[in-house]
């Protein structure tokens, strides 16, 4: 059985909570040289040649799954995709049995999305392969957090001392938690803004500020990370209507202009235009939403490379044709 070699991250990437500032910076720095590979005509280097990776998605995903798959393929890994519909998962197989069966096929890495918080850690504790969390319940989505950090850094320089406000449904958001843990580790000031029904209990005790009104958040922040408001939140009664949500918490061009400040606006996608974010913001000069998507591939390449045992300072050489 192929055993994971030691990496600066350890065996797995389950979350950003507990990672040191140095570890996070290492991932972001390693992503830099990988950005260029996706600009080439031939978008492939042999860094992970011969490695087998399973993308195990128990929840539907387009963006994250495709981003991981591009990252894996551009590093020459052999990949298999398993999604919950049509797999043995829906036939009642337990997560632990799924894991053991994959393991028996001698795989090197698993990228998993699962609806239960803690599922990635559960898997990581039970199989020797590297496990990368592609989103577990409401807990973490560490590669999204990392690509957000990279995008902020690209546009605003060092994260330390920046003021970042996460706007929207923090309660149900794994993106929010990964952002909070990652930003705090790198020395940013972090706040959240949204209806109280969508903010976790005790959020202040995590070292996070709270703004009741989005206008106040915009006056304070350098960066807004706007979260998707899922339709079922309205059905669940967390907000009275999408219209009211947009009126009170929506990030609009008028509100941005009223601050007279040059805010950076991120959104993890997929967007509900006209709900949490207006089109003239999403498509306007503040938005770096498509940069996030581009950076997603580079960050995921960096994570795959590092977990496979690649040396951070050899990433530049690796992209020229070396193997990890």
């Amino acid at each position: 059985m192929s055993r994971a070699v030691s990496s600066p991250l350890g065996k797995d990437l389950v979350g950003l909570e507990g990672l040191s500032a140095d570890q996070i910076r290492t991932i972001l720095d390693t992503a830099e040289p990988f950005k260029e590979i996706s600009q080439r005509r031939v978008k492939k280097v042999p860094v992970l040649r011969g490695k087998t990776i399973v993308n195990l998605f128990f929840e539907p995903s387009t963006r994250t799954r495709v981003s991981f798959e591009f990252a894996e393929k551009r590093l020459s890994a052999d990949t298999v995709n398993i999604s919950s519909s049509g797999s043995s998962v829906v036939k009642g197989e337990t997560l632990v049995d799924t894991a053991r069966n994959l393991e028996a096929m001698q795989i090197d890495m698993v990228v998993m999305r699962h609806g239960s918080s803690g599922a990635a850690r559960f898997l990581a504790e039970r199989i020797p392969s590297n496990v990368i969390n592609a989103g577990d319940g409401r807990h973490e989505h560490p590669t999204q957090g990392l690509l957000d950090l990279l995008t902020i850094r690209d546009h605003r320089g060092p994260i330390e001392g920046l003021k970042v406000c996460i706007v929207g449904d923090v309660l149900h958001s794994r993106v929010a938690r990964s952002n909070i843990f990652g930003l705090l580790a790198l020395g940013a000031e972090v706040a959240v803004c949204g209806p109280r029904t969508l903010l976790p209990v005790g959020i202040e005790e995590m070292g996070v500020g709270v703004f009741a009104r989005v206008e106040e958040a915009m006056e304070w922040a350098d960066v807004l990370n706007v979260l998707r408001l899922q339709l079922e939140r309205m059905q669940g009664g967390f907000v009275p209507s999408l219209r009211e949500y947009n009126r009170i918490y929506g990030v609009s061009r008028a509100r941005l202009d009223a601050t007279g400040r040059d805010l950076l606006v991120l959104h993890p996608g997929p967007m509900n235009r006209g709900v949490e974010i207006d089109s003239d913001v999403a498509d306007g000069p503040h938005s770096v939403i498509l940069n996030q998507v581009t950076n997603g591939v580079a960050v995921r390449m960096a994570v795959l490379y590092l977990l496979a045992g690649g040396a951070p300072d050899k990433a530049e050489a690796a992209k020229q044709g070396g193997e990890a």
């Binding site: 909570e17 337990t94 803690g118 559960f122 409401r138 209990v201 005790g202 995590m206």
Partner: protein
Amino acid sequence: MSAGSMLLKGGRVVDPSQSLDAVRDVLIVDGVVAALGTDLSAPEGARVVDVSGKVVTPGLIDVHVHLREPGQEHKETIATGARAAAAGGFTAVVAMPNTDPVIDSPALVAYVAAEGAKAGAARVYPTGAISLGLAGERLAPMGEMIEAGAVAITDDGHPVMDSGLMRLALEYARGFGVPIADHPEDLGLSAGGQMNEGVMSSRMGVRGKPNASEDVHIVRDLLVAEFTRGHIHLQHVSTRFGVEAIRQAKARGVHVTAEASPHHLLLTDEAVEGYRTEAKMNPPLRTEADRAAVMEGLRDGTLDVIATDHAPHHYDEKEQAFDDAPNGIVGLETAVGLILTHVVGKGVLDLPTMVERMSTQPARAFGLPGGTLADGAPGDVTVLDLDASWTVDPDAFESRSRNTPFGGWELTGRAVMTVVGGRVVYEG
């Protein structure tokens, strides 16, 4: 159960029902206590056991266990549960009715009682459901179930959400002198929750059950019990406000009894960190302030009894992502060691008060025989070795299940002999 005769010689007899804490011999003849004294001699053929240096108490009683039979015998059976109880020092347990099928008829009550008697270990007292099928709609045949042997009426695991039904249950039960036991949880406030709601659940991204979900229901039950003058027994109290509400209700004269579980006395929601399903239960482990309040409630008698809420689950069921794993832990074989080490050992309760909370009061609250070594009482005795050091090894449990957060804990003090009706049902 066949009656036995035996003489336990030279032990320190702790029987709070008689305010007794002294070295005595205990003579049991034909299954009942015949005498306490010094230099007693045994009748022909009776077993004589030297228990000098040990503590002899009226048999310990756990008023809250899940034995899973009928229907979930892969977790536990009445026989394995009764043996686990005996191994943990309990001479009697009260079995909850949330089995499959639900114990909501006299025939099923009689079945549990008969299987318990057949097991020949700890006594097994059945309970019957408040509502048919635990559906929370119509009363099950309470009187017939009590005639068949039910010692309490409860929908445990399914809180009675309809206050009108709770009123009827408390009023109707008054005619029979049995408690209505309720699992206090407002299902609207706790909906979807998998652990205590607080900073820990927010960090872990797990849906929480706020204290208020329990508090609201406790207060509701107390108010309904107060005006119906029924006997409400509140199960596994876990919140600081809940303890205080019960304290105030007792001061007003409400007929309420209440439980503290060993895990709510000793653990907080930090035990769940790392998504440890063996620390997942309902009500959930809460904060340090709650834990301390439950301990204080036990100390001052607001919480009358220690009950384990023994809830066996197969290891496959706990070996899942946190949200998917069932609630509950086993408790019968760890309770005595945990309480001796961490409650008596830390000076919160003295030994007689521990025996009161684990024997005298459980018998009194549920109207059970036992809880005393007075002449003519059942010959049910627990022998404790206060000095025995041991390590909790779930693989050694008599229970069919191993789901405990206390595996590996090093404890001091345990039951070394359990006697039911003058017959030794456990010796270790």
